[in-house]
């Protein structure tokens, strides 16, 4: 089945840090002095060594039905984080 995620590459926005917790990711935005709790489990992590990740690599090990559901969740999550300047697209 064809996935819905594209080959987009993402990285943390400037001034944003992230830390892995058991339940997901804790993001810190210095500009807003805000933290975001993202209950993503083991998704979106780890970032590759250059600080980026590709969305279509996140769910590649799952069976098709679960993969589509996961892709929707990941897509919504990425959109949420981009709207809040936590993630940015790599050109």
């Amino acid at each position: 089945m064809r996935g819905i995620l594209t080959d987009m590459i993402y990285r943390l926005a400037k001034g944003v840090q992230v830390r892995k917790e058991d339940w997901g990711l804790l993001f810190y935005s210095q500009a807003e002095s805000k933290i975001y709790f993202v209950k993503s489990g083991d998704r979106l992590h780890p970032l590759s060594s250059d600080g980026t990740f590709q969305s279509d690599s996140i769910c590649c090990n799952e069976a098709d039905a679960a993969r589509i559901s996961s892709e929707h969740s990941v897509k919504n999550l990425i959109t949420y984080l981009m709207e809040r300047d936590i993630l940015v697209n790599e050109p």
């Binding site: 840090q17 830390r19 917790e21 339940w23 804790l26 210095q30 933290i35 975001y36 209950k39």
Partner: protein, 344 residues
């Protein structure tokens, strides 16, 4: 820092930020000092010990350290310590009285993306400020702010709101803006020397309500972790809207002891010493911290605002009623109930 109540049920492997009181030494003698600062005290951590602690904080990925004291800039190794911490990617916020800025410090802060500076000022006029911070301090503080302004430094003026300066909050905001800074207001809590002037300087009920309205109308005012007992729903995203002690934050004192927060540096709340145990061991295993994480004043659970403030500030409740399991005495709802019963 801001977050929401349900998120605080998610355990953290380390604090997101913490307060590090780097020294008890201060050249001022402010009436409301939460640390009762004055002379440097024997036994304060040396540079080597501080660097080792910084390494531990970097390892557990603390994002931000808020330095206070005393006056941090009086610590001889403070700038090298900051530089070391910045090299590990940790953001720092420095609370300073603004009167001991050296050229070296100003240059260090200039264009530094990992620095936030809060200069303490407790009145828009000398007459009011100097009643708290000491004779002649107003102009010395303003001079300090002017030296920092226009240098690409994240700069705010921090005011502890008391009955003395309550009427000048609007002027303080204008003064901060004229100096290129934001205004941040902090809650007056009966810790340290403030215990001696608590009854005289605390806000009354009508002032608390007026403050709530003012804060809720002006979202440009920073509040940090101070005023969640009176915050409105639409402001709750702008600052920490509940007690983050032992969940999001904690405090390290000048001697390496760890506490739930800067306002509870009392022996009964000491979670451990970094001279004897690692930070991670204390964060994960200290009984004091475990108890704090379960804190939930019974009388607050039925309150319609419980999900907003979760019982308010335990430090204020403890110092007034000697009981952590009691609600924040300055919560808007509780104030009306308690004064009606004659307890306050």
């Amino acid at each position: 820092m801001s977050t929401n109540r349900s998120a605080l049920n998610l355990p953290l492997s380390a604090p997101a930020n913490l307060t590090w009181e780097i020294t008890r030494e201060c050249n001022l003698n402010c009436r409301h000092c939460l640390s009762s600062s004055g002379q440097e005290t024997p036994g304060e951590l040396n540079l080597e010990e501080c660097l080792a602690i910084a390494d531990q904080l970097a390892t557990v990925r603390v994002f931000e350290i808020n330095f206070g004291g005393g006056e941090p800039l009086l610590k001889s190794f403070f700038l090298p310590l900051l530089d070391y911490i910045h090299r590990r990617g940790i953001v720092t916020c420095i609370s300073t009285n603004g009167t001991v800025l050296t050229d070296e410090a100003v240059d260090f802060f200039t264009d530094n993306p990992l620095i936030n500076i809060q200069v303490s000022l407790d009145g828009a006029t000398p007459e009011v400020n100097d009643m708290i911070r000491g004779q002649g301090t107003f102009y010395r503080i303003i001079n300090g702010v002017e030296r920092l302004a226009g240098r690409n430094i994240s700069l705010s003026i921090n005011t502890v709101v008391t009955s003395l300066n309550f009427g000048q909050l609007g002027q303080l905001k204008e003064l901060a803006q004229s100096l290129g800074a934001r205004l941040r207001v902090s809650r007056f809590r009966p810790s340290g020397r403030a215990k001696d002037v608590w009854e005289r300087l605390r806000l009354n009920s009508s002032q608390i309500q007026e403050l709530a309205v003012w804060l809720n109308q002006d979202h440009s005012i920073l509040t940090g972790d101070s005023f969640f007992p009176i915050t409105s729903e639409d402001r709750k995203e702008l600052g920490l809207n509940m007690c983050g002690a032992c969940k999001l934050t904690c405090c390290i004192d000048p001697f390496g002891s760890v506490y739930p927060c800067a306002f509870l540096q009392e022996p009964e709340f000491c979670a451990g010493s970094l001279k004897e145990r690692s930070f991670k061991e204390i964060w994960d295993g200290a009984p004091v911290f475990h108890n704090f994480r379960k804190l939930e004043p019974a009388s607050c659970r039925q309150c319609p605002r419980f999900d907003t403030c979760h019982g308010g500030c335990p430090a204020v409740a403890y110092f007034i009623r000697k009981d952590l399991d009691s609600p924040d005495p300055e919560c808007l709802i509780n104030y009306e109930m308690v004064t009606a019963s004659g307890v306050l």
